[in-house]
Symmetry: C2
Amino acid sequence: MARPTIADIADKAGVSKGAVSFALNGRPGVSDATRARILQIAEQMSWRPHSAARALGASRVDSVGLVIARPARTLGVEPFFAHLVSGLQSGLSARSISLQLLIVEDTDAEIEVYRRWTSEHRVDGVILVDLTVKDPRIEALRALELPAVVIGGRGGKGALASVWADDRDAMLSIVDYLAALGHRRIAHVAGTPNFQHTQRRIRAVRDAVPRLGLLDAPSLTTDFSDAEGAATTRKLLSQANRPTAIVYDSDVMAVAGLGVAMEMGVSVPGDLSIVAFDDSILTQLMHPALTALSRDTFEFGRQAAEVLLEVIAEPTKVINLRTADPVLTVRESTAPPTP
Amino acid sequence: MARPTIADIADKAGVSKGAVSFALNGRPGVSDATRARILQIAEQMSWRPHSAARALGASRVDSVGLVIARPARTLGVEPFFAHLVSGLQSGLSARSISLQLLIVEDTDAEIEVYRRWTSEHRVDGVILVDLTVKDPRIEALRALELPAVVIGGRGGKGALASVWADDRDAMLSIVDYLAALGHRRIAHVAGTPNFQHTQRRIRAVRDAVPRLGLLDAPSLTTDFSDAEGAATTRKLLSQANRPTAIVYDSDVMAVAGLGVAMEMGVSVPGDLSIVAFDDSILTQLMHPALTALSRDTFEFGRQAAEVLLEVIAEPTKVINLRTADPVLTVRESTAPPTP
DNA sequence: TGCAGGAGCTATACCGGTTTATCACTTCAG
DNA sequence: CTGAAGTGATAAACCGGTATAGCTCCTGCA
């Protein structure tokens, strides 16, 4: 016989289906002797619960979802999502909960997916990434009563659980480092302005100006693409008083910026220091290798998974977990400015 | 009332559950008038099938799986998987079938996942990537009777369906191009030797030697990492009769190779031409931008999804779909050799 | 007029678990 | 000795669909 059911086990053990269910789920209602016997038979028949049957009776599905709303073209270059997904799975696999991954075009499509998942009972909860200012997904999820955890930002008015790193401190550590090297004219090539973390980073740079006695520290927003990263760099380096250091909000933009500098005959790190806010193999493949801020994205994902499971078990719970601070990995692209 | 069920619809329409099921699934058994009325009521109550309930009655789960057995660290750098996943989803979403994605450490773990998925009825079929010579997964899947489609290689002795591109022709187009430029000493930095596509590419290079009158065309295998790509390049460029062109099996290795060349004072494309077998944003960010072989991975995924659905519907069917040939995108890293 | 056959629908079993009501039996307090 | 409480189990309902046997008309044809 293929795939044994609890009825088969019940037959073999000479007990009822109910008893088997109790035994397999570790709940009271059977004696220790009977429980042991049932467990042994189940093991021997290599029984596994039929996920659909379980989802039907109870309301849990043992599955959580992650929707990424970005054009596929821009995905995959940064290892961020690959690491995040691995970390999530590591946190989920302990309780053999599966992860549904979906890549969609925009936020509207993402919300539509949440609707569908909810009505089809496909997931117990979801993970939110790329939080924007006044993010419409927060309200949508609350309306659906779908448990969720926000990654990389606070979950609105204490509503959704969140797992986040301190972007502000991280940015300050970069600016402090550059200032300590002697840089006074620093520029910041930022990401999409409506992302929350972009705003936090911009604010951090601005606030550091008076404290460190910087002459200037403009933040220029982009769409995170290599094209805009390059264009913005070209603009910055063409100025009369060009910056002696540039901080990029992503590794891809930093690499593009390095290319522009080389093209314009600006030597790195001689005439210009470059720092990437995100680390990846990309920054290490360059010549010179880029100084970058490294985060433990895998661990980030693991923690997010744990928080999500807690929220699913207890939806009223409010968790805001701050993860380990990212650290600056100094490589060859930063040096004191030439006087 | 939350989540309406077909019983609710049946009540409202004044018919039986069975009639509603017939109507919603477009099967005969109800009149057109009744069908229209039921569909309208379902629409108005915004009914969606409960995926678990459906999976329980019928045997399909409307979900397929993709397991990637690679260390997470090496994932995500290449956009290959992001594009593949997007393409798969595009092919699946038409019939609202979801994709389970799992990243594991090695092939043993991967096979274990297939076992679990089968016994828990979590997927209707799976997609196989990174096919190796004498791949143990083929036999495992056959034993489990789990429908599958192999990506990028033939499915063994006509057993599994497959979707593949012609690596041989692709490699020949690269070597032909380099030979036409005048190169006679070409090297090939290959990937993991036990991957089927690696072997096909090596064979293609070897077979081209006499036809094109090449002096030499060694293939050196690596583990696909940037480190081994760099080390192999260093070895090749230190030889007495060093090659005038190098073909790399991945974009990451090509970039690493470019770095080594720059470091050794070998100018590209002046002293050395470089071609990457895989294209991505990486190759375009470099200076010089790398000539690379571009594949439509998204389309590849879409087709794989379609084939998988066919195989699920008809497990005995044998499909071997050859996809569009990859094309060579010529950029700045290739030129005729200096005499 | 009788009957075969099909369209249109209902009632019901079923999928594989979980949960609840119930019951037999033991134990212990009064 | 009786009643109450507790233990270990069972039978049956239930979750939300799908599949199927069967029933009631209606039509067509001999």
